[in-house]
Symmetry: C2
Subunit: 206 residues, 2 copies
DNA sequence: AAAACCTTTGACCATTTGGTCAGGTTGAGG
DNA sequence: CCTCAACCTGACCAAATGGTCAAAGGTTTT
């Protein structure tokens, strides 16, 4: 690590630290409830320093949302349109469950945003998400037409997958409370994933 | 409407108006994001008047949450433990979908609360919800033991039902956006309910 | 009619909070 | 060394907001 690199690296590290903690604070308190001071404290930086990297709270929030969206797209690609239904859906559900476990805060921020009418991400919903959904719906409809799965409304099937997998992130606190206050362990996550996958696959006759 | 009744009625009407609008504002902006001024404006009352009926913002919020919990319990009872799986689950899912349609804001406030770690309703989760869940899990397990449904983890089945039905309330904005910006009509709600019910019932071999 | 009580409201206050800024520090290049 | 640009930070400010209060307006009871 020499000369010119040092500064850039330090900058990236600061950005990373801030974004990471901002995600957690935004998830826990919502956009308005999260304060720059709280994010600063969590990041171990003075508040003014945050404003050096991100001019406004909204700008910081946007970046957080965009990172989440990137992760979300990663899962989206695991829905392999060329595979058969069993394979494609199994992989997709597993990936979504993994994301719920690895990035619960991101999922929570996204949920919060949608609940509040998606003031920031409206364009994502209308463009990227809408297009992605349309292509998958077409794929699922083809499966139905080819008799590979039962007659189901593909849109509602997608909603069911999203809802169920994201539940383990967004309602993490409720799930943990009903688990005696203990976070799910490896085996429990496995069981959850398996159950969700099996019920859905069986439910659509795949 | 004479004498002593008038005051009580007026009082109840004021309370109703405030609670109704508070629910919407809390759903749209979260606890911190909602302002007493905004709730007052929506209710057509001066802010000071809200504080006459509810000493603090938190007290108002608690009442809103409690109303939601009451509605939630109403659905809970529709899970008739004496019926057979097909009947019990069909009725329960339908009821939950109806609530999602009739009280989306209530569901959103609840979701927001849970996402943020349930600072207010923690006791509900640990007591009422926990007990309710336990009894239903026992019922479902009996169904499994009696061979009435396939071998599934009853807890995850419940989570799936909650997640899927509440998705139509909490993610209403996303659902509407992906529906071309139009709210679901009667037929679409019917289709959603039917699809959810069928996939789940078939998925557990009921 | 008048006392007692409930309800309404505009004006006000203390605190919180997003954002600014001037001055300081650090490290790269000459 | 010295200069310059990038980076950091304590102190500060204006606006927003939860909550208070005293006075006024109604309604019920005696």
């Amino acid at each position: 690590m020499d000369t010119a690199r040092k500064r850039n690296t330090a900058r990236e590290e600061s950005l990373e630290v801030i974004l990471h903690h901002a995600e957690q604070i935004f998830a826990e308190f919502g956009f308005k409830g999260a304060t720059m001071q709280a994010i600063a404290d969590a990041s171990g930086l003075p508040k003014a320093n945050l404003h050096y990297y991100f001019p406004t709270k909204l700008a910081l929030y946007r970046e957080v949302i965009e990172r989440i969206f990137t992760i979300w797209l990663e899962a989206a690609n695991s829905f392999d349109t060329s595979a058969n239904p069993r394979e494609a859906l199994t992989r997709y559900i597993r990936k979504k469950m993994e994301i719920s476990r690895a990035h619960p805060c991101g999922s929570k921020v996204w949920a919060n945003e949608v609940i509040q009418g998606a003031p920031i991400i409206q364009d994502y919903l209308q463009t990227t998400l809408n297009e992605w959904t349309d292509t998958r719906i077409r794929v699922i409809n083809r499966w139905v037409a080819e008799g590979k799965i039962a007659t189901v409304d593909s849109r509602h099937l997608l909603y069911m997958i999203w809802a169920t997998t994201q539940h383990y992130a967004d309602f993490q606190h409720q799930v943990v409370t009903l688990n005696g206050g203990k976070r799910l362990n490896d085996a429990q996550w496995d069981a959850a994933t398996k159950n969700v996958t099996e019920i859905i696959l069986k439910g659509i006759g795949a």
